[in-house]
Symmetry: C2
Subunit: 413 residues, 2 copies
Amino acid sequence: MGKSKKKNCIVAQSGGPTAAINASLAGVIQGVFCSESFQTIYGSINGILGILNGRLMDLTKRSKELPHFIETLKTSPSMYLGSCRYKLPDYKEDSEPYQQIFQLFDTMNVQAFFYIGGNDSMDTVMKLGHYGKQIGSPVSIIGIPKTIDNDLCVTDHTPGYGSAAKFVASSLLEIAHDTFIYAVKSVTIVEIMGRDAGWLTAAAALARNNYNAAPHLIYLPEVPFSKETFLEDVRHLLTTRNNVIVAVSEGIRDADGHYISATNAAADTFGHSQLSGTGKVLEHMVKKQLGVKVRSIELNVLQRCSSHTASLTDLNESFQLGCKAVEGAEQGQTMCMLTLHRTSQNPYCVNVHFSPVDNIANQSKSIPREWINKTGNDVTPQLLDYMRPLIQGEPALQYQDGLPVYLPIDHLL
Amino acid sequence: MGKSKKKNCIVAQSGGPTAAINASLAGVIQGVFCSESFQTIYGSINGILGILNGRLMDLTKRSKELPHFIETLKTSPSMYLGSCRYKLPDYKEDSEPYQQIFQLFDTMNVQAFFYIGGNDSMDTVMKLGHYGKQIGSPVSIIGIPKTIDNDLCVTDHTPGYGSAAKFVASSLLEIAHDTFIYAVKSVTIVEIMGRDAGWLTAAAALARNNYNAAPHLIYLPEVPFSKETFLEDVRHLLTTRNNVIVAVSEGIRDADGHYISATNAAADTFGHSQLSGTGKVLEHMVKKQLGVKVRSIELNVLQRCSSHTASLTDLNESFQLGCKAVEGAEQGQTMCMLTLHRTSQNPYCVNVHFSPVDNIANQSKSIPREWINKTGNDVTPQLLDYMRPLIQGEPALQYQDGLPVYLPIDHLL
């Protein structure tokens, strides 16, 4: 029948969770099933750390043990293989982890390594790729994008973004229904994730429909935030309506680049600031200056791990990228990340490319200024057109005893 | 062919939103359609205030104008008729609003008034009932329960609770998936609504399954909270596991009855305290005393307005109570609230009664102490058995352009 399968591969996930990152993992596993080159696929537990610590699981075996493995994995939230926030050193300064990784590739006859993640994970893909090239390794090192932040370069959008955007838009709509019931003046501030880019906050605008104009104001990290202008915006709206709903990114900064959030920014391993409390700061500002009823709502981790509001378009694209990654490895692709390219808006259509990871790692993409209105407190129709196809469709989740059925993650505990 | 319908009725909603309160409204409207006594049903906008301010809408007409009105209303979040937090004065001290209300009943040939709400709304039902009796009014005054707090007396449980419980349990499960991916010690504190009763917080325990033991600790308002015991509980668990997930009610209090929440309790119209920040207080406590990574998550208003995770059992029961209320009015029931009575646990079965509202208004039901474990940091299997039937089933939501379709509420704006 087909050629004998002799090679193996490893897949890992890294960075923060999304509702679609397991769909990409499911795609990679499915890709290996369909491949004529690869025999066994191993999952590295907790990102690249699993390879360094010898924590690998046989996904080929596991997928045969559990019923409906691929389908259930596709709709399971967060990261089946766990995550890490580990940054590889420069191999010119410290090549030890690299030697360890490529030795393991060699020992296990691994010919492809797939890393599903965001900007930071692409840094790992890039470094492994360069090291591999230098030592003449034949192992394909391929990145598969994911991030709710939608801030990866080259690709039209990132897997995971559509589902998070759908959660944000649905939640905003439900919050509007919750808010409009009281005939008293009120301000509701909804804080949405997004450290440097406002893509996810912008998705709140998708909640608008023929009866709901909320969010009435949107503040993004792309535009310097002025407390005075913000208060004036809210004050002005309150003259014509009872309830003002504001969508705000956690990452808004003032003209000097200082975060508005209450907590002091503590840098994480990658040097990013961890934020919280932007909504609370605006809440206190409104309470003090405008004296109306005000409430802040932090959407928090549910926006990245809520599988019951996933976008079917997002899950399907994520799955497709996983499958394509395996095809790419068979064709010898390496040091690349899979990217989505929109070829048509109506009907919505995307193509998949393999793009050099050097152009993607450690870079980020903000919302173009022309997709934000002039006064910097709303998005334009072009941005809505860009986002809308990404939240379409609802996956059929399996339920048991009133709760969604997800894949057990006991191997992480 | 049936008797000519000559009488009208009014329905209103009051208190805080739930995902099922519109299902009860849909039931009342459906009940009127099927009734041989009632012709037109009017909705009072913003609770009893709509009657006092002359803001009524013709729901019979509206339901004919919009396609699939009843079915869409059944799954629409929050309150289609708006809400209020208005407390009627004692009629012996100030009978003016009573005179106004019963005059309007008379003018509009209203023979039944249905009030869908919680403890405070039942206070209105009781007062109107007593006043009506005193003046010899034939108008049926009937309460239909709703509250995510599940704290109404006499009834086995309250409409709205099952859907909120399902949201809390699903969210907790997704938060567990989100948390377990990092192989570092961490504590996650999930703050859940519930001022005086811990029913909704207890529902977090439904997230446990064959691979997930979270929430590992549960703190309820029914048990005095000790900071020292809490820290010891967390410290102890961290010796055997990486990630500890805590479900905590916003309303926990110390042995002296003081709220643990950060903000000073500001009383609302009904004298209840408005809380926020309990999760944050515990977060800071853990950070300071145990020095591990810690995050607090406030589930916030989504737990009461999230229709996309509603419980079908809850929606069906809520709808049924609405229908039954109209039957009760036809039979001359008054000064009562509809109550659910569990006649069988397996298969789950409930009967509907009409219970005197005097035994329900302004009272509240806590979790029996024997349904909480001895050490006061978890629930017992009996409580799980009680809750589980209430979250069963998923409604088929209609989606358009990626978002759930809800009934327009432009009449509230």
